[in-house]
């Protein structure tokens, strides 16, 4: 297993890191990726930083609450009881 040429800046590492974070690697590929990461502290640091960016986005992006009036309006247009 090559450790991304021991280069956290390599295209191969970045590509696989993105696929890993996006849940697009197979189990086998994931094991290989994590195995390679352990051999390179720089890669591990890069992964953790990218992970923190993803978490940051999810946490900080504003989420709006749906108004009960909208739900009521949809149900009303579809002749669905609004009791629930």
């Amino acid at each position: 297993m090559k450790a991304f040429g021991n280069n956290q800046g390599s295209d191969d590492f970045r590509r696989r890191m993105t696929l890993y974070l996006d849940g697009a690697l197979t189990k086998q590929e994931e094991r290989e990726f994590l195995g390679g990461i352990r051999k390179s502290p720089e890669c591990l640091a890069q992964l953790q930083k990218e992970q923190s960016f993803r978490e940051f986005l999810k946490k900080k992006v504003s989420r709006k609450n749906v108004s009960p009036a909208l739900v009521k309006s949809i149900k009303s247009k579809l002749n669905i009881s609004t009791s629930s």
Binding site: G9, D11, R14, R15, T18, D22, G23, A24, Q46, K49, E50, S52, F53, R54, F56, L57, K58, K60, V61, S62, R63, K64, N65, V66, S67, L70, V71, S73, I74, K77, L78, N79, I80, S84
Partner: protein, 217 residues
């Protein structure tokens, strides 16, 4: 034309009235619970609550009309997002003459795009990001061109897979990946610019660059 619209409306009402109790159950138990995610997606596409409300309502009316096409227990969220995306594009095209495709990206190959550039999030201090308010992030996302904003919202906020995104927005998986790559880079760049405007400068990034420069010499 007016008569035709009236006919379509009457036909829609007729179809709604004809829905079976089972279809109504599916609608309430599988489709309606997705309303929060749909509304948030709609809000980030439209920028305002009124348009987002209209878009979500239109999505559910369409979903109900075509509920016989929905297979129970399958991916209701992705199915509804696809309907919403199509409804948005129709509305968007009506309101704006701007093209909705990122033409240059369709031509360029995935690898060329993905490997060509990489904006390093680490150039900014992590603690600075943690201090940022949600509004700043939302503004940065909303400032992205629509095609890039869409993939960020679908992947990073809603957690859809590449395959699901590919189906929702009708583009190949390779294009989903390259678009995401570019979108994330653009977003990081915008956040970095924002941080700079606030007076934050990353010393570590500058030190690293200076070190690399001296190595080359």
């Amino acid at each position: 034309m007016e008569n035709q619209d009236q006919y379509i409306e009457e036909k829609e009402e007729l179809q709604i009235a004809e829905a079976t109790p089972e279809q109504r159950r599916v609608f309430e138990e599988e489709l309606l619970p997705q309303i929060d995610a749909l509304y948030n997606f709609a809000f980030h596409l439209c920028y305002n609550e009124e348009d987002a409300n209209d878009l979500v309502q239109e999505t559910y009316l369409k979903a109900f009309r075509f509920i016989d096409k929905y297979i129970q227990g399958t991916n209701a969220k992705a199915w509804l997002f696809k309907i919403l995306k199509n409804a948005f594009i129709n509305q968007y095209r009506k309101k704006s003459k701007r093209p909705t495709k990122v033409d240059y990206e369709e031509i360029a190959s995935y690898h060329d795009n993905e490997d060509a550039s990489h904006v390093d999030f680490t150039d900014l201090r992590e603690e600075l990001f943690q201090q940022m308010m949600g509004d700043e992030v939302t503004i940065a996302i909303n400032a992205l061109p629509i095609d890039f904003r869409t993939v960020i919202l679908l992947c990073d906020i809603e957690g859809f897979t590449y395959e699901e995104i590919s189906k929702i927005i009708d583009i190949p998986i390779g294009t989903v990946r390259s678009r995401l790559h570019r979108a994330r880079n653009m977003l990081k760049e915008r956040l970095r610019e924002y941080a700079k405007r606030l007076g934050y400068e990353d010393v570590r990034g500058a030190k690293k660059k200076a070190k690399e420069k001296s190595k080359k010499q």
